[in-house]
Symmetry: C2
Subunit: 348 residues, 2 copies
């Protein structure tokens, strides 16, 4: 941590900077309740003498690591992070990290300049990466953890189970009985929670829980699909669902992109929502209201999730167990009813 | 630039850091061809002695200032900037700046930590802001300048005139004769260029240039509309166009969001594209292919525009006239033909 020679005491640095020892100590510990200019001056002196300052910039920088910026979903998370940082007078550095090599390159840059913490999206660093983060004293919060969030890592998610339950119940209340679901990739924690929410809604309504039987005959299992979280995945599955001898009257899509794909599959057959089929999305990205018809969807509070993650980075007890701070927080979804859902068509 | 006292010579700093004077000089001038660790060490010594180092971080940071992150368009620009920065080993700080107060807050943060340059999107800083940027030695490149790009400011745009000409010509080639346009806000340079491109295509085809007469009677002027660059704006104008005694058979939308709105207006009347009306968008944001039907649109090379702007920041002769470097670059659009355009319906 310190150079072998020439290291001043904190008191010496305080005297040199013309501030109190307490102020120097605060800066050393990354506290932000020291005026920015003073903080920068103290941090420079500390670094000169080999001290590791929490942020080498002497002001707030948070890194947002995201695998792809190619989705409206990612953009909402970014927007929330930037907004929370703006309010805190901090800066957000955005990096796309989608490989171990990318992580290393990012970490090198981040440690060279210093950072007050890292937010990763849909990405749980592996144990070697976690060790390197800890060694560099970079706190971490995971947004939308891809696996079951364990106590060793702090994370923020959304109530996926409740969200899909609400969406399915909405369709049941509209009179739908044959309701399909297109889930996301099975390895994702969120996909599993959403599927369970769908099943819970059907069971609560006394409807046959789709997918429990199936073997041998064309039963409700055919209504449970999985695909990538993209429009193409939704279109592919909806094409197959619409081609069933007994197609569903409603589809719960894994996300808004898939719901757009469902609308495309309907269009290909000259069908429309909600007259021929109801569709519910998930996320409520800004473009959800651009669809024809505008998407009924489950709103993930993406901006609030990002803001919460930002605050968790700076919460006391960061990264430690037994501090009484929860290691995982889920923010509630809300159902946004627009025009893509309607009464079930009367089936013969 | 230098403190009054205690300033070392560059040679002295080179000796202290154990590097060549040339390396110190490079760091002082913000060159990046010095290893990151060495650069950071030299930069720290320079700063200690009161030298103004091009980036106070001793490594690359670029600021991206954007009014709103709430559109897929903004996201593509961000993606391009992050990608170019990644390749250069630099970091991108993203800030939303939509007011003079926001600009000042950003500038305070940026000068406190240092930055190698600022990219602003659709935003031309006013003369006071430009002065403050110059005083802080922060180079600037404007992406998609909202006004005619003058020689004093470097900027990157797209070939709006050509893009809209190509889109309109595509419709003419499909047999359309009654072609409407929904433009963006008139104060925007890009909106004016696109409208001119539309007119040029009509004139080149020997078609009555819409909007030249109109006074007194319902003529082609009714086919020239303007609204905000959002889905709601497109829907509003398309509703009026479809309600005309003689509606158009094709609409050139100001951007993809407006084109989505046109599709919604069609849906409200039980009409479809391209059977009843052809629609062309502008931008080719990722969600353009999610529409029903997938949007034919004019692709702006948004990611390439951002990457070009990033490189312009570091180009020699930054900010000076007479260096032979162009102050404004436009990257070509391309027409992406998908499913929302088709042959003109036979009109009675």
């Amino acid at each position: 941590m310190a150079r072998e020679t020439g290291r001043s005491t904190l008191a010496g640095i305080a005297a040199e900077a013309g501030v109190s020892v307490s102020a120097v100590s605060k800066v050393l510990n990354g506290r932000t309740d020291v005026a920015a200019g003073t903080r920068a001056r103290i941090a420079a002196l500390l670094r000169r003498d080999g001290y590791q300052v929490a942020s080498r910039l002497g002001f707030g920088v948070v890194d947002l690591l995201i695998a792809t910026l190619h989705t409206p979903w990612a953009e909402e998370l970014l927007r929330g992070t930037v907004q929370a940082a703006d309010e805190a007078g901090a800066s957000v550095v955005v990096s796309t990290v989608d490989s171990p090599g990318g992580f290393t390159a990012w970490l090198n840059r981040a440690t060279a300049r210093g950072t007050d913490g890292a937010l990763t999206v849909l990405n749980l660093p592996d144990s070697s990466e976690l060790q390197r983060l800890a060694a560099a004293r970079i706190p971490l919060v995971v947004i939308d953890p891809p696996e079951e969030p364990g106590p060793g890592i702090r994370s923020v998610g959304t109530t996926n189970w409740q969200g899909c339950l609400t969406a399915t119940r909405h369709l049941i209340e509209l009179g739908h009985r044959r309701i399909a679901i297109i889930g996301g990739p099975e390895h994702l924690w969120s996909s599993r929670a959403r599927l369970a929410g769908y099943r819970a809604a059907l069971e609560a309504a006394g409807l046959e829980p789709a997918g429990r039987e199936a073997a041998g005959r064309a039963g409700p299992a055919e209504l449970i699909r999985r695909d990538q979280f993209c429009a193409e995945g939704g279109r592919r599955q909806a094409r197959e669902l619409l081609a069933l001898p007994q197609p569903p009257t409603a589809i719960v899509a894994g996300n808004d992109a898939q719901a757009f794909g469902v609308l495309q599959a309907l269009g290909e057959r000259g069908l429309r929502a909600p007259q021929n089929l109801s569709v519910v999305g998930f996320d409520d990205v800004p473009v959800a209201s651009w669809a024809t018809p505008a998407l009924t969807t489950v709103r993930q509070p993406l901006a609030a999730m990002a803001a919460t993650a930002f605050r968790m980075l700076h919460a006391p007890g960061s990264g430690g167990a037994g501090t009484g701070e929860p290691h995982h927080i889920e923010l509630a979804t809300t159902l946004v009813i627009r025009e893509s859902t309607g009464p079930a068509p009367r089936v013969i």
